[in-house]
Symmetry: C2
Subunit: 395 residues, 2 copies
C-alpha cells in the first residue's frame, strides 16, 4: 500500500513534549517538563455542584447541539474578564474553542498559504509552531530579550521579507521563556502591523497568573484597526482537561474563525460551556486564581532560589514574574538533549529547548516548569540538576 | 485594512444548514431542517450520576491534561461496540475526536493538496463537503441509487481522473438521502480502492439506528490492506452536545490522525471522555439505542405515511430503514429554495438539497429530518408541505 498523503504531512512529527511526557510518567521522576497546572488546586467539589445544577436546570439543552460560536452567557462573561487588560468588546466578538490550541490551528488555516511567512519570537511556543506547520509556512524568528521582541529587527524583517502573513507573539510570561513584553514594545508592534498591514496573533494563556505588580495592557488594547486576534483560555486559571479557550477578534476576523470552527468540529462541548458559565456565576474565579498564584509564586521562588545556589555561574536563566516557566541557557558547547539523557538517569526531566526554535539551532537551551511539582520536589530536582550541570561544565 | 487571507478561505461560506437553523428557531416552526436528535431521550439523570462519580473517583485526572489519543478505557469499549459490524481491532487503533466532524476535517488535512480530487456520493454530506473545502480539493460526484454508489461509474472515474486522493462515503442511512449500500457494493468499493491504491473514508454516524433487519457489515470489515478509515460518533446514539466521536484506522493511518489531533487541539475533553466511559460501565447503551430506534421508527412511519397520503404523485422520496432523514426529489422545474421560502411562511422548514451537491445543480431536491419533532407536529408539517407542493406543481 502506498497511499499518498498531503504534502503538509511531511512537516509534521510527534511533539517532543508529548513524547517526553511519556518518559517522565514514572512517579519517581521529578518532572519540570510538561506545562501542567497543579491538579491539587482544581475545584473538584465545585465542579460536582455545577455539573448537577446544569443538568437539572437545562439538561436537554446542555446535551444537544448548540451554536458554533459558543454559549452566549459564557461569551459575555469572557468579555468582562478581559477588561483588566484593556479589552472592552461584545460577546459577538468571542468564539469558544477547544483550548487556545484550537485558536492557533485556526489562525494557521485562515492566514497561511504554503510558503507564506509567519514571524514569531525566538524562541516561540512549540505547540503553535506545530499547529502552523500543518499549513506549510516558513518561519522568521525575531530576537527576543527581557522586554519582548526586538522592534528594530522586526521592522527590518517586515521591510525586507516577502509574503509575511502574520505575526505570532506570546507577550505575557511567554512559553517557553517566561518573559513579558514592555508596554512600548506592545505599542510599537501594533504600529508596525498597521504600517505593513498584517494581523497579529496575541496568544495569552498565562497573563492572569501574575506574581508581582500590575497586569500589562494587552496588545489588543492598542489595536485601532481590528487586526489583533486575542487567544485566551481557562486551561491555566481553571482546568485544562475541560478544553475551553476562546478567540476574541473584531467582526471581520471573528467571522472567519467561526466559519472555520464550523467545518472543523461544528462547536465546542455544550455541557462544559454551561458548567464553566455556572461556575463563574456561583464562585469567584478571581479568588481561585489568587490561590493558584500563591502556590506558583512560592514554587517559582524555591526553584529560582535553588538555581541561584546550585546552578554553576556559567548557566543563565530568566526570572519570570508570572506564568509557569523559566528558561535556561547553557554555555554554547553543552547540548541540552545530552543533559536530558543524563538528567533522566537521576530522575529529573525538562524539555530541551531546540524544538522551540522553528528553524533549529540553540541546542544549549532548555525549559523548566515549576507549576506541577511540590516545593520539596522542586528543591530536590534542581539540586540534582545543578550537580549534573556542574559536572558537565567541568568536563 | 486589507489583511490577506489564505486562498482556501475563498472556498468557505457559512453552512446553509446552520443559517437556516437560525430562521427555524421560532417555536411555532415545525422544523424538518436540522439533524438534531430528540432531546427528550437524552439520559439526563444518568449523566448527573456519572458526572458526580467521575469527579469523586478521579476528579484531578478528569480535569487535567491527558493523552492526545483519548482515554484508554473508553477506546477499548469503542472497539467492542464495533464488533457487530465486523471490526475487531485494538484500542490503539482508536483516536477520540470532537464528534466525527473533526475526523472529517482531519481527513481533509491528511490527504488533500489543493486541486486534488475527492470522490463522493451524489448527493453527499454538506458538513463533510465544507470540512474538505478548507483544503481546496475538486469534487467528483458519483451517481448513487438505493443500493449505494454506482460501481461501474466509480471504476470509470478512478480510471480516468488524475490526482484522486480519497473516496468519501456514508454507507448506512446516508445523510442526506437516507440510503444504505448493499453488501456487494461495499465489497466492490474496497476492491476498487485496492486496485487504485486509495484510502476510503467511511463515515458512519447513523448505522446503529437501524429500524428493520440486520446491520450491514462495515466497509472497514472488508478492508484487507488497512486503507479504510472508519469515523464513528456518540452524537446520535447518546448526546451530540458532548462532542465525542472517534476515528478507527490501522496503525500507519491512525498515527497520522493522532499527529494532526495534537496540533489541532491537543486532545478532547478529559472529563467528558471519563463520563461517557462511566455511562458505558453503569448502563446499557444498547438498551438506550433501542428506545431511540422505537421513537424514530414511529416518527419515520408517520412522516412517510403522511407523505404518501399528501404529497403529489410527481414528488419522489427515499424510504430510509434507519437514521434520521428522507430525501425528496421534486419535478425538475421546481426549485426547493423557492419552496423553502413559501414553506417558512406556513411555519414549516427543511433543507434545500442543492448544497449537498459539491458541484451544484439539483435544486429540485430537499432533505427532511424526522428525529426532532413529535408525531403530531410531523403529521401537521407534512400535511402543510404536501398542500404547498400540490399548489406549486399545479401552477
Amino acid at each position: 500500500m502506498a497511499i499518498k498523503f498531503a504534502e503538509r504531512m511531511d512537516n509534521l512529527k510527534a511533539s517532543e513534549i508529548r513524547e517526553l511526557l511519556k518518559l517522565t510518567e514514572r512517579p519517581e521522576v521529578i518532572s519540570f517538563a510538561g506545562g501542567l497546572p497543579a491538579p491539587e488546586l482544581f475545584p473538584v467539589e465545585e465542579m460536582k455542584r455545577v455539573a448537577v445544577e446544569v443538568l437539572e436546570e437545562g439538561g436537554q439543552q446542555a446535551l444537544q447541539y448548540s451554536a458554533t460560536e459558543g454559549y452566549a452567557p459564557l461569551r459575555e462573561k469572557i468579555v468582562k474578564r478581559m477588561s483588566p487588560i484593556g479589552i472592552s468588546g461584545k460577546a459577538e466578538n468571542v468564539l469558544i474553542t477547544n483550548g487556545s490550541q484550537q485558536g492557533l490551528d485556526f489562525s494557521g488555516k485562515i492566514f497561511i498559504n504554503p510558503g507564506d511567512v509567519v514571524v514569531c519570537e525566538s524562541p516561540s511556543y512549540l505547540g503553535a509552531i506545530n499547529a502552523f506547520k500543518a499549513y506549510s509556512p516558513k518561519f522568521v524568528e525575531v530576537t527576543t530579550d527581557d522586554s519582548g521582541m526586538d522592534m528594530t529587527e522586526l521592522e527590518k524583517v517586515l521591510a525586507t521579507t516577502e509574503n509575511v502573513k502574520m505575526i505570532y507573539v506570546i507577550p505575557d510570561f511567554q512559553n517557553p521563556s517566561g518573559r513579558t513584553w514592555s508596554i512600548d514594545r506592545r505599542k510599537k508592534l501594533v504600529e508596525l502591523a498597521n504600517r505593513f498591514d498584517l494581523p497579529i496573533i496575541e496568544d495569552n494563556p498565562y497573563g492572569e497568573l501574575i506574581f508581582e505588580g500590575e497586569r500589562m495592557p494587552s496588545i489588543k488594547s492598542f489595536d485601532t484597526e481590528g487586526r489583533v486576534v486575542f487567544l485566551g483560555t481557562f486551561s491555566k486559571t481553571f482546568c485544562p482537561g475541560l478544553r475551553v479557550g476562546w478567540v476574541y477578534a473584531d467582526e471581520e476576523l471573528i467571522q472567519k474563525y467561526i466559519l472555520v470552527k464550523q467545518g472543523a468540529d461544528l462547536q465546542s462541548n455544550s455541557m462544559v460551556q454551561r458548567e464553566l458559565n455556572k461556575f463563574l456565576e456561583l464562585y469567584d474565579l478571581d479568588a481561585h486564581v489568587e490561590k493558584i498564584k500563591d502556590v506558583y509564586r512560592r514554587r517559582r521562588d524555591i526553584m529560582l532560589n535553588t538555581m541561584k545556589e546550585y546552578f554553576p555561574s556559567e548557566v543563565k536563566y530568566t526570572y519570570p514574574t508570572g506564568g509557569l516557566f523559566t528558561w535556561v541557557e547553557l554555555p554554547d558547547h553543552l547540548n541540552a538533549r545530552e543533559v536530558f539523557v543524563k538528567a533522566i538517569e537521576v530522575n529529573v526531566a525538562f524539555v530541551p529547548g531546540g524544538s522551540f526554535y522553528p528553524n533549529g539551532g540553540n541546542e544549549n537551551t532548555f525549559r523548566l516548569n515549576y507549576s506541577n511539582m511540590t516545593e520539596e520536589r522542586i528543591k530536590e530536582g534542581i539540586i540534582r540538576l545543578g550537580k549534573l550541570l556542574t559536572e558537565m561544565i567541568k568536563e
